[in-house]
Chain length 369, copies 2
């Protein structure tokens, strides 16, 4: 592969075939070469939301055509509300209308909504065509584009319909993060802190130290964080693609985070909810004697610079009811990933465990007061 000088390439082992995550400032300009070398499809469907289409997607499709590739842009309206079966079906039908076949590939360019939706279109188009993931937000670069999860939301909840469909290639160009609103950058960095919290304490501390550069979207700082998070996540996914064991540690902060999000009727953003979820689940671990004392405090100090908005008033019984409906609950009982200390998840009970509801209630009361 003709990598640019600054490219970092992380191989990810996946059941359906290995793939590379390329992290490179300015890498966007090499997309035509990368597709020709590594995908070799007959046609490319560039899927972007209308905002990203205007910023990047239309130019990318034009670039591909300029390089002699057959490419066409398929925009959809921006927003999580459109990550649904209706737009999945519409995009699929648009590809069919344009005569796309089994020899085509999808290029999903955008945030997590686009990588999930575009990935699910690719996963189910004629029983699966390749997808190239081009994340354009911190969150998508750090998290959504690695691991092969694709899907859409339904009335019963987020991501309840979908498929595992590992990408043919992921290309993350941190230079595009400059166009991202600060609030979205903050949301994405929460997941980077989470990677540090469960796997790499020094990385957690490094993120805290680099926060001003990261919030300013300084490309080298962003590239460093994206690269380390991708490396950590790739290692976990290679070991447990289907979330039967180790991969669950990536759900740290998410059991309570999802319930907080749902109980706020999704007024609380995902990253904000996960950040509070991490504090709560650290507190839970400390109360149980599983997590080293002071861990909750270290997490709180580390993420303080993100200046996350405070939570609105939330109803504790409602949070508890969402907990028992959690996708990862077994037999209606939610499971929690606990840390042993900052940088290490507890492997006991195959990486996640049930916790007495009274203790969860008590932590909720403390943390929400």
């Amino acid at each position: 592969m003709t990598d640019g000088a600054s490219a970092r390439v992380f191989p990810v082992a996946a059941g359906a075939g290995d793939y590379d995550v390329v992290v490179e400032v300015g890498g966007l300009s090499r997309l035509p070469d990368l597709l020709a070398e590594r995908v070799g499809a007959h046609r490319y469907a560039v899927i972007s939301d209308d905002r990203v289409a205007e910023l990047h997607g239309a130019a990318v499709a034009e670039d591909l055509r300029g390089a002699g590739l057959d490419a066409r842009l398929f925009p959809f309206p921006a927003g999580e509300v459109n990550k649904n079966r209706t737009w999945w079906a519409r995009l699929t039908d648009q590809l069919l209308d344009e005569g796309f076949g089994r020899d085509a590939a999808v290029v999903a360019m955008g945030g997590g909504v686009t990588t999930d939706l575009g990935g699910f279109v690719a996963a189910t188009f004629m029983r699966g065509i390749p997808v190239v993931q081009m994340p354009t937000s911190d969150l998508a670069m750090i998290d959504a584009s690695v691991g092969g999860k694709t899907g859409v939301d339904v009335a019963h909840g987020k991501n309840l319909v979908g498929a595992f469909h590992p990408p043919a290639l992921v290309l993350a160009d941190p230079a595009v993060l400059e166009t991202l609103p600060l609030a979205e950058r903050v949301q994405g960095l929460v997941e980077a802190f989470k990677h540090g919290a469960v796997l790499d304490g020094p990385y957690f501390d490094l993120l805290a130290a680099r926060l001003p550069a990261l919030l300013g979207a300084e490309p080298r700082a962003a590239a460093e964080a994206v690269a380390r998070s991708v490396e950590l996540k790739a290692g976990v996914v290679a070991e447990d693609e289907r979330e039967a064991g180790l991969r669950q540690i990536l759900n740290f902060g998410h059991t309570l985070g999802h319930a907080l999000e749902a109980a706020s009727d999704f007024r609380v953003a995902h990253g904000t909810a996960v950040a509070v979820g991490m504090l709560m689940e650290a507190a839970l671990g400390e109360r149980l004697g599983v997590t080293a004392e002071g861990t909750r405090r270290r997490i709180a100090d580390g993420i303080a610079g993100l200046r996350l908005p405070p939570l609105p008033q939330l109803d504790i019984p409602r949070i508890l009811s969402f907990l028992s409906a959690d996708k990862k609950a077994r037999g209606g009982r939610p499971r929690y990933v606990l840390l042993t200390e900052l940088g290490a998840a507890d492997p006991a009970e195959r990486w996640s465990r049930e916790v007495e509801e009274s203790l969860v209630r008590s932590v909720l009361e403390d943390e929400l007061s």
Copy 2:
């Protein structure tokens, strides 16, 4: 495994995990044990069309409950017209309404419509839960339930949306074939003849010899044919799950068959169309000097006893236009699997090749006159 005395078990190697196809007269009664031993889900969703639900599905769900398993029947209206995204979404939402989660499994019981639709619900429910395929027609036992193909039809064509989702287990009980109308039995046997034509000449001849018993749904004869077809198909699928090479041979008769079906606006049944497609593709191979002379004649003699209905008047230019829109066409040019002789497909050009349209037209003119 506690197999019944007459059970034949065929292991199938699949990328996402191996599975067994159990062929057993009376095997239906062992389903509760098989599920408990081999699937171990927390809950079971039995998906059947309303006709099969009445004949078998409701009793099966009742049996499972009687054995202490948590099972519920989810019927949908019978017919290929309901193998669509609407019913896929409805069944998914019904499972969610009933609180089914990641620890559930689908039991898809019925013909190919049900194994495809129920399989696709399972493939995409929370990114994939296990599916147990319980084929109840010759066609589904012989063909649809082995190989992991799932999906639905859309306006642009059949099976254009779907996923590869290998089952956890396939249980084929030939005793249930007695309730199948003769016309459907005939359709399914065409695929058995196809297995013989591409892989096993003596099996082709055996089917022709046993035709009276097979058409009478004599359970031992049916079990023998299902077992041999499953064995042949399992061998092919193990070698090439994703249809990149060898698996294409199973499309013998299907390139022209699909086009005939479409050009008749689906008035011609699939099996009938494939039977004629096999004759045409054998003739094509003979004209090209690839297929031994007399092969078309041997196929015609073998399937004569099926007494397939004659084709209606079909428009040749319309057939040719459907050929170039075929899902397996590359760059708009359809590909054909050719035999070298009865019982062997030609491996040249990775098992399928393009053929001059003028020659295809000439064969169509001969065969349709």
